[in-house]
Assembly symmetry: C2
Homo-oligomer: 119 residues x 2
């Protein structure tokens, strides 16, 4: 599929998809004329990338991580090095803390909302 369809199906802008490619997160075949041609699996991959961005990982970390992931279609094409595992463990803890923060903030919001709606 081409970039427009991928953007539509993932909800990610074409701009971002091109950025992902420049960051080495996403590869695409090219038509003779130079247009990008994506395989079906790109949809899943883009969704994953978005999730990891939302989790606060920077593109270089994601670039290291992606080949170690089990895609929808098969096995990982690489195994994380000990160095990377340490990095990812740190990210994991950061995500844990972030979730805890979010839960607290959600409770705060709920309290205010409930109070306003008459306890």
């Amino acid at each position: 599929m081409r970039i427009g369809e991928l953007a539509r199906r993932t909800g990610v802008s074409e701009r971002s998809l091109r950025y992902y490619e420049k960051q080495g997160l996403l590869v695409a075949e090219r038509t003779p004329g130079g247009h990008r041609e994506y395989p079906e699996a790109a949809v899943d991959r883009v969704v994953r990338i978005q999730e990891l961005f939302a989790a606060g990982l920077c593109s270089s970390k994601i670039a290291q991580l992606l080949p170690c992931m089990r895609d929808a279609d098969g096995r990982p094409s690489a195994i994380a090095t000990p160095r990377l595992v340490a990095d990812l463990s740190a990210e994991r803890e950061r995500i844990d803390r972030m979730i805890a923060d979010l839960v607290r903030s959600r409770e705060t919001l709920d309290e205010v909302i409930d109070t306003a709606r008459g306890r």
Copy 2:
């Protein structure tokens, strides 16, 4: 207490504390010479502000929200308007989605980490 101590105790930089004040999130008495003087309750408040920032709320939303919160010391000094409640409910849902995303990303990281450590 003064700004240095508040920064130390909350882990928030002095720079950020001054920024919070400029955004109307934090008030401080002033010494005759112009130095900020914070009450003990400021510690809790700053922690709350940080959590809300981490949850992706912008300062103007936080500024509206804060007076409707029950502080450690007492009752809220305002009740959220219906308009604000609607806003906060939207934020609440956004936070829910963010948590779901984070959980998925955490699972992804765990999978890669476990694989590298030999299943």
